[in-house]
Symmetry: D2
Subunit: 151 residues, 4 copies
């Protein structure tokens, strides 16, 4: 049985993450599965490259409206013009999600997949990126949010 | 100066979270800020209620195509029909985001806001929901993802 | 009973269309209805201005991700970052659509509203803009499309 | 040079339109072009069938969130969950658009393509579907829209 598996991860990745993503793409293609990614560089390109080497189908769901943004290993580029909202489409296209590494874009895909009840597997996600501010009361939360909004 | 602040959080929330969200809404409205939420129940409704009591403007960006889904404290309901992709619109509409509690939908909003460079403040987020599976090798990640996709 | 009525039309409009759109906005607000538009200039701004003068609520669903693009008569600006796909959201937000003038963006809103089964009223639409190429055979259609795609 | 050409048209089509759409798909595939459609039946399926017979790549951009909705000749199904807003994605994915037949969904694609400056070729579009109501004054437009909104 053949599935469509999303491989998600940051553009800015470590060598280990790139190596892992390429191997994930290669293994998926070897088993006859389709790979879907966000279509850009880093982990997305490495997974695409692995799948392309394995002669697999690679769908790239791009944030911009220009197919030319796709990495060269994408076989079908979908130029959405939706910006980061395309992360939700990557997830909707997939039967399961493999996250290699972690950035905020990647985490949004993990969260949207979990919300949609789709299986998610994390690989080498390392530490979470430096995060949001934590408040301990409603008033502090409002003061912080308004202060930060004001720049 | 008046801002639009998103208050995000789960439909299924604790009493403490609902109390906090209502107070956040009330404080924001009292200071003249607009509140934007996902328009449904739980934290979304509590924040809307607080803002409405304070005579504030409450925008509800709904996942469905029917404005009737909005909680009764929403002053302007936007029925998107985008499903969870509307989470990205909630974030785009906001100058800053306050998350009260945490669920996967809420975390997708936090992640999308961080990705977009918008300030995020966390309040009473508690433990993360039970999470994705962790793999320690590419092969294990692929085996887990395909196995889970197969149900 | 109060409704949300979309007033759609081109940025580049005639004086008659601008006058009509402003009057439409004014009449809708006077009757207690909410006006929703695409939030930009021309017919969108004229309808917003009419409604604002009548103290009505004006929702502007913007194509870009920056609320600052909204015309000054919009009371609630939703910055979607969806480009022309936001036309579908304008229609989804409305109980009925009034088109003043016609351009391709406006016609997409008319068509999406008709497809969604929402009432559409046309006012001063004049001639359709210069249009698509017409083919009389499958081969000619393909030759024309490929030739035009090649620029 | 290879292009991606959208073939758009109604689910409910005449025999002549289905025959034409299948031939359009066959000719596009024979020349090495990719066909993108809305992924469902009628003209969409006929064009997909023609392209598939010609061993071409067929992308189906579906309105729903379930890939299973795609007609059997789609090689890559993108399940968007965007409803009719996916019409804009079909257009964004294409270098040119061929419309076979005409319905309101099809017309929205034609209008969005023209708005985006993409070439559009019409084939056997026949008469426009029964249309919107025409008003001759602002007051009449408002009365009609509100009356129709009230059902």
């Amino acid at each position: 049985m053949s599935f469509t598996i999303a491989v998600v991860g940051p553009s800015d990745a470590t060598v280990e993450q790139l190596t892992a993503a390429e191997e994930v793409g290669r293994l998926l293609a070897a088993a006859g599965h389709t790979v879907v990614t966000g279509g850009l560089g880093g982990v997305m390109q490495a997974a695409s490259r692995g799948a392309a080497i394995g002669d697999g189908l690679v769908i790239g769901i791009l944030p911009g409206a220009d197919r030319g943004e796709a990495n060269p290993f994408v076989s079908v580029a979908i130029a959405t013009g939706l910006g980061e909202l395309r992360n939700g489409l990557v997830v909707r296209c997939a039967d399961a999600v493999i996250a290699v590494g972690a950035g905020w874009g990647t985490l949004s895909e993990v969260a949207l997949a979990m919300k949609a009840g789709k299986p998610v597997v994390l690989l080498d996600t390392g530490d979470l990126p430096a995060g949001p501010v934590v408040a301990t009361s409603s008033r502090q939360a409002v003061d912080l949010a308004v202060g930060l909004a004001a720049g």
